[in-house]
Every structure is written in C-alpha cells, then in structure tokens.
Amino acid sequence: MYKILEKTQFSEKVFKFRIEAPEMAKHAHAGQFLMVRANETGERVPFTFADWNPEEGWVEFIFMKIGKTTTMLSTYEVGDSILDVTGPLGQPSELGDGTWAVIGGGVGLAIAYPIARQLHNSGKEVHAIMGARTKDLLLLEDQFRALLPEDHIHITTDDGSYCEKGVVTAPLERLLQAGTVDHIFTVGPVPMMKFSALTAAKYDTPIIASLNPIMVDGTGMCGCCRVEVGGETKFACVDGPDFDATKVNWNDLRARQAAYRTEEGQALKAYEEANCACQR
C-alpha cells in the first residue's frame, strides 16, 4: 500500500499526488516513470515522475481525469492508499551540454517541469515552452516562473485565452531562428511532439521526445508499448521512454495509443453509472 501524503488540484481535471515511497524516491531520475494499480480490480497505468524527495521519502505524479482510472484516482484523498505503485521504470533522460528548450504540452508539462529543473540545477540555460489548449489547462506556471527568468518562458494557448495564441512550434521556431538553442526536449500530445520534431529537424537541432504509449507490465515483458523508431521496433518501457523525436513513427504511435478508446469509454461509463447510484 502506498499512502497519499498530499493531493493538489491544479484545475478541474488535473491533480497531483504525493505518495509515500521511500525506496522509489531514492532511486528516481528525471524522465523515469512509475506504474499505478489503484485497487484489486485496477489496470496498470504509467505516470512519469513529476517530483521526488529522497530525504522525505516521497514521489509525485500528475494526472488528468480522462478515463476510469484517473477519474477514480481523483476521488482519492490524503490518507487513502494506492494498492500498488511500481517504479522507477524506464531509462533516465540523458541531457547533454548546451542551451535547452523544454517543451511541454497539456499534462506533458508535468513531465517537462522536472526535466527543466534538473537542467537548470545543473547550470544549463533553459527555455520553457509551455502549451495548453486553454488557460485553465496550463499547468505548473508558477513553478516554471520560480525556476526560470521571465524571458525564458514562452506560453501558448490554442484558443488564445492566455499569452500567445497558437501552438508551441511558433516560439520554438523563433528560438531556433535566433540560434539560441542546442537541444530540445518535448513531451505532450502526439501531434505536438510530431510537429516539434519537424521544426527541430528543419534547423538540424537534436530533439528528444518522452513517449507515452499504453503499457501493461512496464518491464519489457509484454511489448504493448512498442513503437517504431528509425525503422526499428523499440519498447518505450525499457528502451525509452525518451527517443530521438525525428525518428519516431508518430502515426503508428497514435494508432496504438487510440486502440482501446472504445473500451476506455465503456469502463468510464460503467464507473460513473455505478458511482452515481451510490450517491443517490
């Protein structure tokens, strides 16, 4: 059992859990993930570490209420426990020298933040490019602002409800044109990562994407999370989750991510109906 020490709500649908997991906290690295099984009937869902503290013995992850598991998790409160949490899993991010642009879109910002922090703390210059559909879905703005200077933060919203209207590739392209960026890290929805990669390739700048396919075991055994990178099949759970974004077969990834959409809807509906009956 893994106790929830702290619960933070960022918006209507976005939450952060701080979980008691002393051993995991000692061994976690930026870019790695954990897997949650909420209860006896639960599925295994991967979440990238948002933060961790080896001294205090906790790890954090951020999630957005989308399907059944995340909807159910959002009802868990401080003091409740998650049945199983496994991690750290995956390869730590390898972050080279030079100036970085870290791009996060939507919940991907939860993963982008520890990467930006690690880069910043190791003395590297970091630009954060933060994208969201709308202002309410923009995560961790305060944390990013506390970390980086004002002119190193670039925010876009699809609907223009906050800062620049548009998508993350616009500020990325400006930075690349100015020649201020040596490396790029991108994490978020597939189209965002795909177009970040195309933009980076135009300027011949290396770009890493942190991928988020569906996983079952998370330890290289089942192959559910496989993704084609540079013409080869790779397992995101043990070979990644970070890959050279210019080599990822994004269409394959997107198709595999969407493979269970019908079932996910079904599970959520069943959960909401059951829950509704309880409250009546």
């Binding site: 598991t69 199983d84 496994t86 991690g87 290289g220 055994m221 559910c224 084609e228 198709a255 269970y260």
Partner: protein
C-alpha cells in the same frame, strides 16, 4: 489401459476459463499406479530433469500411502501440483517409460499432480536452525520460489523481490487458469510465507535497488531468476498495427489482469472474430485457447513446420484441436494488413514445405516460391519466443553472454562469487521444471558455499 482423466466436451469447455483437465480420482490413480512395472533401472527417472524417484512415489500411491509418496517427490521437487500439469511429460518421464514401447506409458504427470493436489498429507518440512545469513531472490517465478523455499528450509533469511504485485511469474501471467489454476500457485506462495520467506512486490531490481545496495544492506548472496523477457519479433510489415499482439501481452491481460472480466476489472482486451496465432509451442497453444474463450469465431494456429514438429506439449495440441482451433501447417507470416480503421484486418502468409533436417534434427521449412495466402485476421498474436530482458544487466556485476543472458555454471554460480542465477535468464526460454531444477541446484550450492 492408461486411465483417462475427465474433461468437459471441447466446444463446451472453450466457453470459459475453468480448469479443463479434472485430474485422477483416487480409484483411477490407484489403477494407474498398478500399471507401473517398478523397473530395476527406471528410465523415467533418467527422463526427469530433476530425477524424481518416480517408481518410488507411484508405489506409495498404489499402497495408499499418499503422504509418503508426496515426501518422495518433495525430495526433488517442491512444485508437483504445477509440474504435474505443465511438464512436457511425453518428452521426459513418460517418453522413456517402458510401458510406452508397446502401448501407452504410465500417466506419470497425472499421478504427480494427484499427490501434488493434496499438500496437506506431506510431512512437515524439516527446518534447519537459522544460520544468520540473508539471501535476496530476484523474481518470484518457478525458479525463484523454488530456490527461496529450499534456502528457507536450510535456515536462511530469504527475501524475494518481485516486479509484479503478486508472486508466481509466468505461472500467473503466462499460463492460463484453464491449464493451471491460480489457486494452486497461490498455495505455493502461501506455503513459502509460512516458512518465513518475505516478499517485496512491485520491486524491479535493477531500478529500485541493485546488487551492490542489497549487499550493503546485509544480504550475503543473490539468486537472480528474472525469467526471459522481451518477445521476439516476427520482423514483418504491419507487426505494430493495433490488434497485433505479442503472446505475452495477450496472455498477461487475461491471466494477470483479468481482462476477460472487463469492465468488472479495468484492463480491457480485444474480442475478435478471426484470430490468427503464430508459433507452435505451449505459449501459442495458450493463446489460441484463450482466444476461443474470449469468443472468437475462428481461431487459426499458423506454424511454419507441421503439427508433428510442434514443440508444445502433445496434450495442449490435442486440447486446442478438440476445442475447435484450426491448425494451419506450413505457413509463415509475411505481412499484417491494415483495414479501414487502421487496425489489422488480414495477414498474408508464405506457404512452406519441409526440406532437409536442420541442426535440431527437425526438417527445415522452405518457402514455396510465389505461394502466398491471405487469411482474415482482426487479431494477430505472435508467439515465437523471447529474448533476454535488458533489465537483467542493471542488477549487478555478473557477466552476461552476447545474447544478454547471465553466464552461470551448472550450479548457477555466476562470475561474481556472491551471485547465483538460474531459470530462463540463464538458459533462454525453457520449461518450468528446468527453471525449478536450477533453483534447487543453486540453493544447494549456495548453502554449501555460504555455510562453508
């Protein structure tokens, strides 16, 4: 005449996941035990990878002394209820049985299972006094749990680290309920806990801790039994389409995560009309039979050689056929074809013929030029084996071979004197009994060396 166990009718039983083979009644076991010739030089014992005294325990069944019979098995194997069900007996003990020369061999596997299913009659395990040494076992599959049990009985303080949330390894994620009830596996794990073995679940050693850290925490030795890992690829176009699975995923979703009970359980799986499985081993058989139970209309097993060369247990091939699986011999996949929705809708197969025998002695399949068929396939499963899991190399300083498996001597000793290893992570994918045997041998070697 060899006694046959009861089974529900093929088509009927393939509707649910309940165990298929009902095993022997006491009467049947007694009659079958009477068939054993008590050979002076029992070939069955030679055929057994762990050399169980087979005529010895069969004699005890005949005499009705079940406790003594089980004690005889326990001298060599702690998992008779499991091995009685999953060993390829026709290539081992039963394959050597003298009765089989002219008629049918003694049903040794069923007799082993008969005793294994009454663990309560065995003598209390003899426990050596605590010796103050601590051992970490990595992986709670058949090899790890055997080693852990032996070490605990030898007086060691044993902790098993397991990546999943429950113990059993391939016995719970790979082998389906209809072939090996999960209650049987749980009984073995519970038994180990009673011996004082501790289990640390959700612990991927190599990530949450490693060999050096475990030694620093006071462990004196390690037994690594993480199993084979990574599925082998077919390396054909369309292999990554939605609804093309590796058998490990297809089976894990159902066996471990209970996707057959979705949405009561949260993990979904795909229920398809026309399922095609590639491979000829036990994992392929488990996959086709799982597909039937998930309601597939047609389930086809494609194998590049013929049925006679299939490495699966004979009983599993027979079960699959009785349940309605179509065996499509001499065909190898060349491409998975996507339908309008982007998921797989068909698979093209290259037809083969048998040529000259290869190194394994089996006739090599040779493609028939230009002979390609397209089979309807809205769910494909690849069950052609596994490679070493790359997490093994993160555990400790022990040497790996060029394929990524751990190098170990016949007692499981690795290049590091504090580390032993066994099971599939040493041999590559093999059988439960060999993994178990490796755990037992390593435990004996560890006991001798650590207490020297």
């Amino acid at each position: 005449m060899r006694r046959r166990t009861a089974h529900a009718r093929g088509k009927e039983r393939a509707k649910d996941f309940r165990p298929v083979d009902k095993g022997f009644t006491e009467e049947m076991a007694h009659a079958e035990a009477a068939r054993c010739m008590r050979c002076k030089k029992p070939l069955c014992v030679e055929g057994c990878p762990v050399n169980i005294n087979i005529p010895g325990f069969i004699e005890k069944i005949y005499e009705g002394k079940y406790g003594e019979g089980l004690d005889i098995i326990h001298e060599q194997s702690m998992l008779p209820a499991i091995c009685g069900r999953v060993c390829p007996q026709e290539n081992q003990c039963e394959g050597k049985c003298i009765r089989g020369k002219k008629g049918e061999p003694v049903a040794i596997g069923q007799l082993e299972r008969f005793l294994g299913d009454m663990p309560e009659v065995a003598s209390e395990p003899k426990m050596a006094p605590k010796n103050g040494k601590k051992v970490a076992v990595i992986g709670a599959g058949p090899s790890g749990i055997t080693c852990a049990g032996e070490l605990a009985r030898n007086g060691f303080d044993v902790t098993v680290f397991e990546a999943f949330f429950t113990g059993g390894g391939v016995l719970v994620y790979g082998i389906p309920e209809f072939r090996l009830p999960k209650a049987v596996v749980k009984r073995e794990i519970d038994g180990l806990e009673k011996l004082g073995v501790k289990f640390e679940y959700n612990s991927v050693v190599g990530r949450i801790t490693d060999a050096e850290e475990l030694f620093a925490k006071g462990f004196d030795a390690l037994y690594i039994a993480t199993g084979a890992g990574l599925p082998k690829f077919l390396n054909v176009p369309g292999e990554n389409l939605p609804n093309v699975f590796f058998a490990n995923e297809y089976l894990t979703r159902v066996n471990l995560m209970k996707a057959n009970k979705f949405p009561e359980f949260d993990t979904p799986t795909k229920r398809a009309k026309n399922v095609v499985v590639f491979g000829g081993g036990n994992v392929a058989m488990d996959s086709v039979r799982t597909a039937l139970r998930l309601g597939a209309e047609t389930v086809t097993l494609c194998y590049r050689r013929t049925e006679a060369e299939m490495p699966a247990r004979r009983a599993e091939v027979e079960h699959a056929k009785a349940e309605g699986v179509i065996i499509h011999e001499l065909a190898s996949p060349v491409e998975f074809v996507a339908g309008e929705d982007g998921s797989v809708c068909a698979v093209k197969v290259q037809n083969m013929e048998l040529g000259e025998p290869d190194a394994s002695g089996r006739r090599r399949p040779v493609p028939i030029e230009g002979s390609i068929d397209e089979l309807p396939c809205d769910l494909g499963v690849s069950a052609i084996g596994t490679n070493a899991n790359p997490i093994a190399k993160l555990i400790g300083p022990e040497k790996l071979n060029k394929w990524g498996y751990i190098e170990a001597d016949e007692n499981g000793q690795t290049s590091d004197p504090r580390i032993w290893a066994g099971g599939d992570i040493v041999t590559g994918a093999a059988t439960v009994i060999l993994a178990m045997g490796a755990g037992k041998k390593a435990a004996a070697d560890m006991t001798a060396k650590l207490l020297a």
